[in-house]
């Protein structure tokens, strides 16, 4: 099994930063994050652990620019998202997302699903295809390029989602329970792949998970409870 990536000495550059972040829903009735502070440095792997509803997914969404905090600061690669007029640049070039459910478009093939981010970013077709071949070779999906999503197994779907998230060579990968819908064996395989690719591509991986054994293999484990980062380990 692939082990967690040790931080290279030069990788002390902070690529993700959250300062005193608050987030609530239903006009403040449901407080999800209550003053979270977090930093992620280039190339590290971070596991966010904690019970359901503790705010792991919300924190990932805020770090990826999918949502805005009620209060506090989020910065990606030194750019404050609060002052960022559009999260598009972030979503196209700096951050990749992997969700618990693969969130692939069922009527498209594996290849077409993976090419979606390159359509959004305007990456030339030739370069996009080269990148796709590189990623599918690594994830063992090169023989399934023309397959519709319905024809893929759960593990293949999640590996496809991983390929799609990495198509535009993001420096940060945010994974929300990426193995949560898979059986134990497939889960271990996908997680190995996640760590391996993160290490090879020098990507900062922040992953929310319930699985303590998987979390333990990350470079850093952060415990969240009741909307706060409770005890860095």
């Amino acid at each position: 099994m692939t082990q967690a990536t040790p931080l290279p000495p030069q990788s002390t550059k902070i690529v993700l930063r959250a300062e005193d972040v608050w987030k609530s829903y239903d006009d403040g009735a449901i407080e999800v994050l209550k003053g979270v502070d977090f930093t992620g440095v280039a190339g590290e792997t971070v596991a966010l652990c904690g019970p359901s509803g503790c705010g792991k997914s919300t924190l990932l969404h805020l770090l990826g620019g999918l949502d805005e905090p009620d209060h506090g600061l989020i910065a990606v690669n030194g750019t404050e998202l609060n002052r960022h007029s559009s999260p598009l640049r972030l979503l196209r070039h700096e951050v990749g997302f992997v969700f618990q459910l693969h969130n692939l478009i069922p009527d498209l093939t594996l290849e077409e699903n993976c090419l979606i981010p390159t359509v959004a970013s305007g990456l030339p077709r030739k370069q996009a295809m080269e990148r796709l071949r590189e990623l599918t070779d690594r994830t063992g999906l090169s023989h399934r390029l023309g397959s519709k999503i319905q024809k893929l197994s759960g593990g293949e779907r999640q590996r496809t989602a991983l390929c799609r998230a990495l198509m535009n060579r993001p420096r940060i990968l945010l994974a929300d329970e990426p193995t949560g819908s898979l059986d134990e064996k497939t889960s271990a395989t996908v997680f190995d792949l996640l760590l391996e690719i993160a290490a090879n591509e020098g990507v900062t991986l922040v992953m929310a998970t319930h699985d303590r054994s998987l979390a333990a293999r990350c470079g850093r484990l952060i415990e969240m409870r009741d909307g706060r980062i409770h005890e860095p380990v």
Partner: protein
Amino acid sequence: MIFFKLILTNLLRHRIRSVVSIAGIAFSVAAMLTIVTVLQGAVAMFSGILSSDSQLIVFERNVSDLFFSSVPASAEQAIAAWPMVEHADPVLFGIVSSADHPIITCFGITRDDARLRKATWVQGNRTAFGKGANDIVLGQTAADFMSTSEGKTVQIGHGSFHVIGVIKTANGFEDGGVFMPLEAAQAFFHKEGSSSVITIKLRSKEDVAAFKARVRSGFPNLIALEDSEFERSYSQFKILKATAWAVGGCGLLLGGLGVANTMIMSVFTRIREIAILRVNGFSNGQIATMIFGESAFVSVLGAVVGLSIGTVFLFALKLIPALHGYIDTSVQPWVVGVVILLALATGVAGALYPALYAMKIRAVEALRFE
């Protein structure tokens, strides 16, 4: 390519719904094309009657319908004598009926009228026209539907007339009409000493302005218009054209509502998919382009199918014996252009709300709750 596939995929995913939308636009376009073409053709034919070997038309000022225009014979004689005038042909229009045909256009004309000169004489000849008060010449279509021919007597309105000839003309109205000597028509319609219009041919086109000015000063109750001016300004033509576009537009509006419904359903049933595209970096513009692309595809395909259906329908109308000669099926390119543009505009308008809704979808909420 993937972008186009995203557009097509959704249309193919709901095939029945897409086909119904395309059919809605297609039938609207077909209806619009048919109505507009038939009425444009009718207007062109009527204009053709007036512009037969002439440049100008003189008629009573401020009449809403040429059938009610009354130009005194004295005016016709005076104008015909002007040096700039090559010939002036008085025409009296009337509507008559026969046993099986409630409406037949009747033309009271002189023997020298261009209609008789330019027509192909299928039976009889022009020299006999005007010699007898009850002699008439029929257009070939009129002769066919009255089942009559040269030498026979036909009942038209309250009178019996002797057919002295049958002519073939390119104009449907003329071909389905009855030609009477002017004096006979004046007596028949109780309009002695007047005609509906005078069609004028000048010796030189340079004299048009001078002619119009002379009519204005010499005959204040009359007006002289060039043929093109008349076609633009005649209120009956305006009403016909406006009606055609309005009826066709209503049809297209209904088709547009169908497209709007399809696009609303299209967006509402794939909120999660749109959220996925957002997470993968799709901009508002790209999402909107996808929705408008779908709508434009439906509209243009519907317009193409509709134009085909409309063209076939026009040819079918032309084949109906009772309408023979009255339907001009030559579809004007500009009409096709306008119909396609209107269909496209309708489709885009129908996609406006769905596109705005899609642009407001927040990925994080859609992915959390869908």
